[in-house]
């Protein structure tokens, strides 16, 4: 298998896809308008954002206790809880549970956590057919086992809550044999009052008053619905992210997708170049957090942003996405510092910092750089830069630096009367 390309390379086919570009622009415009209208109806959206953030911060601060409470409530309601440290373990658990229920096929509506753990591949390898129900696939009539994601879990009651547009998860709730729900650790909230807050903010943020289909399920009910309920709680890098003072903010994410629809980069590339399972600004954070930055593709994700800040402005739980991206960029760079031969960029950045930390060196470099750049000028502009800087002048001119810098002008001007 060839490794996934870096974001810049992966974005090229999308940028050249006329129909995709138009569809993305239309979707984004529509989502932005719906969100703006839904939010404008509220008397105090900023207060709701602050409340949503507070709920998540409080939860993450006591995540262990909150998850234990959730486990007790799920068990009391007749369910079983399974803990998975990583994606592979989570997938194995689901396969084992499905096989134990005697399933030759499972219904599994699309969910990012299922993609995250690579469930389809694991089930198929075990000879279990996956029905990816959703927009264009019917719910399989004979399915006896279903695997779902979830949006929020209430620790107090052990209740799972899914917010949907179409109701694919809802149809899974009546399978006879086993319902297996997979969730990230961070999707828990302490109690029903917290759920109320996030239901509002997620719905509004997604451009609705309330999500069209809200489903809730708790454990096992005798004589109704599935005979067994399993909850698979996935860590897969979340505990590590939680230990990072800045990066942990990303665990507040409630998956409303508002940041995707305001992102100028996502609007032009769509989800593909981000790789699965998360796309857009939050994907550029979560994928490196969950999978690390060892691969060139994952290491390129935190750089796939202009840091324009549109995402942070809309996020219903106030995640400062640009700040987290910048921190992740630092991690990517730090991971490369140890290389025996410095990357050209590291050498350049070090030299620049050495020059800029001394006014005399700075001024000498300013003089030299200006002279060099002025030699490149043709017809009052710079139309071609050499080397790696050439990607700028592929499509953009550069102004010619004037012979006299500001500081030299200031000095020449002398003392004012």
């Amino acid at each position: 298998m060839t490794p996934r390309p870096k974001f810049a390379a992966a974005a090229r086919p999308a940028l050249a896809d006329t129909a995709l570009r138009r569809a993305l622009a239309d979707t984004a415009a529509d989502a932005r308008a719906r969100r703006a209208a839904a939010v404008a109806e509220l008397p105090d959206w900023p207060a709701l954002r602050a409340a949503g953030r507070a709920v998540k911060d409080r939860t993450l601060l006591n995540l262990d206790a909150c998850l234990e409470r959730l486990e007790r409530a799920v068990v009391d309601a007749g369910g079983t809880v399974h803990w998975a440290e990583n994606a592979a373990q989570a997938a194995r658990t689901v396969v084992r549970l499905a096989a134990a229920a005697g399933a030759g096929e499972v219904a599994a509506p699309a969910a990012s956590v299922l993609e995250e753990i690579g469930l389809d591949g694991a089930l198929t390898a075990a000879g279990i057919a996956v029905h990816r129900t959703g927009a264009d696939a019917e719910f399989p009539a004979g399915a006896r086992v279903a695997v779902t994601g979830v949006d929020l879990m209430v620790a107090e009651t052990g209740t799972m809550v899914a917010l949907e547009r179409a109701g694919d998860v809802r149809r899974c709730l009546t399978v006879p044999d086993a319902l297996i729900t997979v969730a990230g650790l961070e999707q828990v909230v302490p109690d029903r009052a917290d759920l109320e807050v996030l239901l509002q903010s997620v719905s509004r943020s997604a451009g609705e008053r309330l999500a069209p289909v809200v489903s809730a399920w708790t454990g096992v009910v005798a004589g109704d619905g599935p005979a067994a309920f399993h909850l698979v709680l996935v860590d897969n890098g979340r505990t590590r992210a939680l230990a990072d003072e800045v990066g942990r903010a990303a665990l507040r994410c409630v998956g409303c997708d508002a940041c995707l629809h305001v992102c100028p980069v996502y609007e032009r590339t769509g989800p593909e170049p981000y790789g699965a399972p998360h796309a857009g600004p939050i994907g550029a954070i979560r994928t490196p957090q969950l999978r690390g930055v060892a691969s060139a593709a994952n290491a390129s994700l935190p750089f796939a942003s202009t840091l324009c800040g549109a995402c942070a402005d809309v996020c219903p739980v106030e995640i400062d996405i640009p700040e987290v991206l910048v921190r992740l960029r630092g991690k990517v760079v730090d991971a490369r510092r140890g290389r025996p031969v410095p990357t050209p960029e590291l050498a350049m950045m070090r030299a620049a910092a050495w020059t800029l930390t001394d006014p005399h060196r700075y001024e000498a470099a300013l003089r030299g750089g200006t002279r060099w750049a002025r030699l490149l000028a043709r017809g009052g502009r710079i139309r071609r830069l050499p080397g790696r800087l050439g990607v700028w002048t592929d499509a953009r001119d550069l102004p010619v630096p004037p012979a006299r810098s500001f500081r030299v002008w200031w000095r020449d001007r002398g003392e004012r009367p």
Binding site: A11, L15, V332, V333, V391, A395, P399, P402
Partner: protein
């Protein structure tokens, strides 16, 4: 008032006219301008590209260069945001505890409207002008309508409105090189919107974004010029 100018390295080299315009404007309004000569760069590029240890050295240098100045003005919104919002983060990330408050840097339009309380600076500029709210001015600093209030008070100036004005131009520092294709896709749309408003001049409070937008306008031989807002406000019709 004695005002210290932080010109920003980018302007120092590529757009000295912007620095001269700030000096001319502030002096015309009756203030004394100082230029602390130890100033170099705020460290923005190092910080946003992930070179955090190097950025810390520059943040410390900045604080030293501007020590003792209590009114600092810069014609770069992104540098103002870097100092005000990021310097403390940079120093904490470098392991410093008890980080002192960053020097009080104002972006030029904030300084004019909020500190000096002026919107009519006595400028004249008889052209059709579009204002591009850069991401750092609009979002990071919350400049709001201050730049527009200043522009509306300029004699002879006709404002042109850019559609989808608040969308990023795609510059993003090293993003413009690392993700050049996406960056160009963004600036292509920005320039299309600008040209639909048919201005003579596009102005903003970040010359870095203007170099990006202007670079695309120039490549297209559009005839539309870019100019820092300060250079419009410094104009007295001469």
């Amino acid at each position: 008032m004695r005002v210290a100018l932080f010109v920003a390295c980018f302007n120092d080299a590529l757009f000295p006219g912007t620095g001269r315009a700030v000096v001319r404007l502030l002096e015309r309004l009756g203030h004394e301008v100082a230029f602390p000569s130890a100033q170099t760069c705020c460290g923005q590029m190092h910080w946003t590209t992930g070179y955090h240890a190097e950025a810390a050295g520059l943040a410390r240098g900045f604080a030293a260069a501007f020590a003792g100045h209590d009114a600092i003005v810069t014609p770069s919104a992104s540098c103002a945001a870097t100092v005000r919002r990021d310097h403390a983060r940079i120093l904490r990330a470098a392991g410093e505890r008890d980080v002192p408050p960053a020097p009080p840097v104002h972006e030029l339009t904030e300084f004019l409207v909020d500190v000096l309380g002026v919107t009519d600076v006595g400028a004249s500029f008889p052209h059709r002008v579009a204002y591009h709210p850069t991401c750092h001015s609009a979002r990071a600093l919350g400049a709001g309508d201050r730049p527009l209030r200043l522009l509306r008070a300029v004699r002879g100036l006709e404002l042109a409105e850019i559609p989808a004005a608040d969308e990023c131009c795609g510059f993003g520092g090293t993003f413009a090189l690392k993700n050049a294709d996406v960056s160009v896709a963004l600036v292509a749309d920005k320039v299309r919107h600008i040209r639909s408003a048919a201005p003579d001049v596009v102005c903003a409070v970040d010359n870095s974004c203007l170099a990006h937008i202007g670079g695309a306008l120039s490549r297209q031989r559009s005839g539309v010029r870019v100019l820092h807002l300060a250079e419009i406000l410094a104009g007295d019709g001469a």
